[in-house]
């Protein structure tokens, strides 16, 4: 194990299978330095500002190289969810139809609610049939579903404009060749929260949907030090993801195999082939997710759930419901790079025991 890996282990919480994780150590180590060097307004003339501008460019180059875009296309957003409005509404014309899928994020549904649109159904395997559309139409395309980990097929035949939601996929999104706008969330590579990375491929067909007087995409302030820290987190995360890919893939298969053979009546989303290895969602029939999550938490394991009884609004995950998967007893796991095999085996043994008790 490398030195960086040792630091990572010390800084992480054991048994954390939630989507959120502590700030990446590479970002945390740089934070105070980042605030020392990146406090000035990069658009001004004095020396501190010029230094900030250099750091801003460096950060943009790091993002661009790992996200597969050009740095001049890139914009930092203090509010990542604003990127859905910028990315989708900015492509819509009066005659456009907005196509989106039933497993898209609620931010997309909210835009469709006001602009109108066509919701595309999703199969139980997570597949969506994309229309060919007209050149003015807009497709909200989710690269990877953040709940199930299922990768979307490339929308090659779509003739219109494509907004890529990469908030659930981080650096794993394969941008379709005809993408027009895209959005990433810093949290997906263990960067600081409160930072979105937004990109516009072609400013000539994108119209700013926000009130504006000049050519700027937004006039909202973002934190340059956090953007710099996020760039370092991304760089480290890309490397660690590669290093751990084979191991995480094996752990994912192990969990899928274990829950389907050792625990009766489990509904697993997707397969090893259709989903990315670090995400996993399964539902355990006749169990209460709220109790599952609480019992696991007591034993030191943190998981997410898409079940109604564990959410504030009592509505089940629209992703599970749209795919026809069981919505109660749902457990959602994120397999972070630093997760160990022993931790996973202990988790599964504990889960099996809890399920047996809950079903009695």
């Amino acid at each position: 194990m490398s030195k960086a890996g040792t630091v990572l282990r010390v800084g992480s919480i054991t048994g954390n299978f939630q989507s959120e994780s502590p700030l990446h150590p590479a970002a945390r180590a740089f934070l105070s330095d980042a605030f020392d060097r990146g406090w000035a307004d990069p658009t001004k003339i004095p020396v501190a500002s010029r230094q900030a501008a250099i750091l801003q460019n460096e950060a943009k180059e790091i993002f661009a190289s790992h996200l597969g875009i050009q740095s001049r296309h890139l914009e930092f957003l203090a509010d990542p969810s604003l990127g859905f409005h910028l990315g989708i509404s900015g492509l819509l014309n009066p005659g456009s139809t907005l196509f989106f899928s039933a497993v898209d994020r609620s931010e997309v549904f909210a835009i469709a609610e006001s602009s109108g649109g066509q919701r595309l159904p999703v199969s139980i395997k997570g597949e969506v049939q994309y229309p060919s559309g007209d050149t003015d139409d807009v497709l909200a395309w989710q690269a990877i579903n953040g709940e199930t980990g299922i990768r979307s097929a490339q929308p090659q035949d779509f003739a219109g404009r494509i907004f890529v939601d990469a908030t659930g996929s981080g650096h794993l999104a394969d941008l379709p060749s005809n993408w027009r706008t895209a959005l990433w969330s810093s949290k997906s590579w263990q960067g600081p929260a409160g930072l979105g990375i937004f990109a516009v491929a072609d400013r000539s067909i994108w119209k700013n949907p926000l009130p504006h007087l000049d050519n700027a995409i937004t006039n909202s302030e973002y934190s340059l030090p956090l953007a710099m820290a996020s760039a370092l987190a991304l760089e480290a995360h890309v490397l660690e993801y590669k290093e751990n890919l084979a191991r995480i893939t094996e752990i994912n298969s192990f969990i899928r195999n274990y829950v389907s053979t050792e625990i009766p009546d489990v509904d697993i989303a997707g397969s090893n082939e259709s989903a990315v290895p670090h995400l996993l969602s399964f539902s355990i029939l006749y169990t209460d997710a709220q109790r599952l999550v609480a019992e696991l938490d007591q034993k030191g394991f943190a998981v997410d759930s898409g079940s109604a009884c564990s959410s504030a609004n009592l509505e089940p995950s629209h992703v599970l419901a749209a795919m026809g998967l069981l919505t109660h007893g749902n457990i959602r796991m994120t397999l972070h790079n630093e997760i160990s095999e022993v931790e996973v085996k202990n988790f599964l043994k504990t889960l099996k025991e809890i399920v047996r008790e809950l079903r009695e």
Binding site: Y286, S307, L314, P316, G324, L325, T327, H328
Partner: protein
């Protein structure tokens, strides 16, 4: 048989249904839990049953 699960939250309607259908091959389920429709479809697929919506918050479930 009619099974009244109004006011119950998931997974109780499905748990009660699974018990009841072992006795009767056909059940009319009353449930106003927002997860019931989605869960009936998954449960039917997993356990070999069929169901149809026969009214507001009212479902007919059959053993296959």
């Amino acid at each position: 048989m009619e099974l009244n699960c109004l006011g119950m939250r998931c997974p109780l309607p499905i748990i009660n249904l699974a018990r009841a259908i072992k006795v009767d091959a056909e059940i009319i389920l009353l449930s106003d839990d927002p997860a019931t429709l989605a869960d009936l479809s998954a449960w039917s697929r997993m356990t070999g049953h069929s169901f149809e919506v026969i009214g507001p918050d009212k479902y007919l479930i059959k053993r296959l």
